[in-house]
């Protein structure tokens, strides 16, 4: 049984221009101990999907209108925010893109991590502090015993993200959701943080759901990849398969439109851009949502929506192109 199984999730937002179908029928499952990358551009619904799991979206205007989110066999959708508090941090940890806005600026980082520990586990104040220091050592914060009493603004961006990771992992959750954890960081710091995440995953055996827009990060961290576009999953495959044999035109476009630092021949060849821009998901047109930008679009693509289906073991995609063959 999968650790987390999202089925037919639809999260919509009410705006004054109409209903924004940010996530519109998404199926994603994560197995125990697995690293799954959800990749896509801004507005594709990857963050809203992740936020929906723990109801971290603002409701209203947001609303989960359909679908179920099974975590260890239990549906999280009907739970109240209060009931979810027992699952947040304890079972599912969350790492945000911008650590500065998700850490409380008037509490020391030690207080913040210890608070979450004491909320979920029967530990004394002293034990919580010890565990916190251990956690900070684990995420390689130098002089952890002293730094535990510092405030978030006294840390650099990379160090703050380490603190966030320590906080997310303090209660040993079974699943960690990391939403663009390295996007705000420099490349050398990004490498440190990705290494740390990998290291922590091996140590604690948790599953990781990593949300990113960078194909390079996907290739280096994922075991399995879900590609999202305009609120839907368009392709899903093991990482080698996805990069070796991308089938959906959007996935192909994503991989081919980025300059490659690792290929000599690629230098000064023209990039294959995907034309147009990401659609607004208010009253989307019928058919495939990628059709307006797709160079292979046929007449059926604007008429009928392609279903996500298995084309090879573990490889699913939603495109009419595959139907012909």
């Amino acid at each position: 049984m999968a650790l987390l199984d999202i089925k037919g999730l639809k999260t919509h937002f009410t705006t004054d221009a109409g209903i924004l179908q940010a996530v519109d029928g998404v199926d994603i499952s994560i197995n125990r101990g697995e690293t799954l990358c959800v990749v896509g551009e801004s507005g594709c619904g990857k963050t809203v999907t992740a936020m929906s799991i723990l109801k971290l979206i603002a409701m209203p205007p947001g609303k989960i209108v359909a679908g179920e989110i099974m975590f260890e066999g239990r549906d999280l959708v009907p739970l109240t925010s209060h009931e979810l508090d027992d699952i947040r941090a304890k079972e599912i940890g969350f790492i945000f893109q911008e650590p500065m806005t998700s850490l409380n600026p008037v509490l020391t980082i030690g207080e913040q991590i210890a608070e979450s520990l004491r909320r979920h586990e029967a530990v004394t104040k002293k034990q919580a502090l010890e565990r916190t220091v251990d956690m900070l050592k684990l995420v390689q914060i130098p002089n952890a015993a002293g730094r535990v009493h510092h405030y978030p603004h006294q840390f650099s961006g990379g160090m703050r993200q380490r603190v966030m990771i320590a906080m997310a992992l303090a209660c040993r959750p079974k699943l960690v959701i990391a939403d663009e954890p390295t996007t705000a960081l420099d490349v050398t710091i990004q490498a440190q943080i990705l290494d740390l995440l990998q290291d922590m995953k091996e140590r604690f055996g948790m599953a990781v759901m990593l949300i990113t827009h960078a194909m390079g990060v996907v290739a280096e961290t994922a075991q399995r990849v879900v590609v999202m576009y305009a609120g839907k999953v368009v392709e899903e495959a093991p990482v080698d398969e996805l990069f070796g044999n991308p089938r959906h035109p959007y996935t192909q476009g994503l991989i081919r439109s980025i300059p490659r630092i690792d290929l000599d021949a690629a230098h000064k060849t023209r990039l294959e851009a995907i034309g147009g821009s990401v659609p607004i998901l208010i009253n989307p047109t019928p058919g495939c949502r990628f059709a307006p930008r797709c160079k292979y679009a046929m007449s059926i693509c604007t008429e009928r929506e392609p279903r996500l289906r298995e084309i090879a073991p573990g490889h699913r995609m939603a495109c009419h192109l595959g139907d012909a063959s």
Binding site: E41, V187, F243, I258, I261, D264, A266
Partner: protein, 322 residues
């Protein structure tokens, strides 16, 4: 070799840090600390480095949007440093800037047409309104938009389209040099490629020279002829793009390149992991600025700062050990 279009020598920009009751100067940020490079006509020089390395400040100092503390900038045989008032304004017709954030770089209260016509009005180059409109229309078409878009406001366009408008604005005065400050880093992956391709097409068509400032090493490699790597206000390595990426000499460049995630899950590459963070540019380390994080630093690296020396074939490195 012919005279380069742009020659920057020993450029420095130290920002004062004010503090205390009477806002007295309590220190300085050494944002740019002695940078020298040249850019040839029709060439693209990439300026790459992590945040706080001074690359954007360098770009703005070249245009004198930020007043440099010292150093020399020679553009097309003429010193930019001594210019003032009208001369500086005239000089700016030849050098333009494209910004990182296309949501902040266009005035939300002006139509696209008004934004693009403004340079003609400022410099009095096109006085008839109908001719201005024609010129704006052809600029829009040139960057891949439509003439009728001139009546709309920036708000109505997507990020990629706005960046096209910003590029059109930079082109209005037919400049020779365009400083591109992270022009694609705020854009979605699939849109980045559109803008990069547009910049390359325009360069070929109009014989433009680019100073391309960015933190994304893959993008910089793709678009640049030569690349300069900056660290804490100094250039540590400068070479032809292919040369720099295949044969990096400076330990910082090597680490930087090895940290770039590659979109190939089968690639097994050797990692050089740098420890710690970039030191504050308010009190950079003595000697070589990089020695605190350098895996091969020696005693002399802490004492004397290495000069940027030419090795073979225009490959410059600032390292005692390279």
């Amino acid at each position: 070799m012919s005279e380069p279009l742009l020659r920057v020598s020993n450029l420095k920009k130290h920002f004062p840090v004010l503090g205390g009751l009477l806002s007295r100067e309590i220190g300085q940020v050494y944002a740019v600390d002695g940078v020298s490079f040249t850019v040839g006509r029709g060439e693209t020089l990439g300026l790459v480095g992590e945040s706080g390395c001074g690359k954007s400040t360098t770009g703005r100092c070249v245009l004198r949007l930020i007043e440099p503390t010292s150093g020399e900038v020679v553009f097309d045989g003429q010193s930019v440093m001594g210019l003032g008032g009208g001369d500086l304004r005239a000089m700016r017709r030849n050098m333009q800037l494209v910004f990182q954030d296309p949501f902040a770089s266009l005035n939300p209260r002006m139509t696209v047409g008004a934004i693009l016509a403004e340079p003609f009005i400022i410099h009095g180059t096109v006085t008839s309104p109908s001719e201005r409109e024609d010129r704006v229309a052809s600029l829009l078409v040139k960057v891949g938009l439509k003439a009728e878009h001139m009546r709309r406001y920036p708000h109505e366009f997507s990020g990629g389209q706005r960046q096209r408008i910003a590029i059109a604005r930079a082109l209005t005065l037919e400049p020779k040099l365009i400083v591109c400050d992270e022009p694609v880093s705020a854009l979605d992956v699939s849109i980045q490629a559109q803008v990069i391709n547009l910049l390359e097409d325009l360069q070929a068509e109009l014989n433009l020279t680019y100073l391309f400032v960015a933190h994304d090493l893959s993008v910089v490699e793709h678009i640049s002829d030569r690349v300069a790597v900056m660290y804490l206000g100094r250039i540590v390595e400068l070479a032809k793009a292919s040369d720099l990426y295949r044969n990096p000499q400076h330990p910082y460049t090597r680490a930087l390149l090895s940290a770039v995630p590659v979109p190939d899950p089968k690639a097994k590459r050797e990692r050089i992991r740098l420890k710690g963070d970039v030191p504050s540019p308010m009190n950079p380390p003595k000697g070589c600025h990089f020695h605190t994080r350098c895996p091969i630093a020696e005693e002399r690296c802490k004492q004397t700062s290495p000069e940027l020396r030419e090795g073979s074939n225009g490959h410059f490195v600032a390292c005692h050990l390279a």
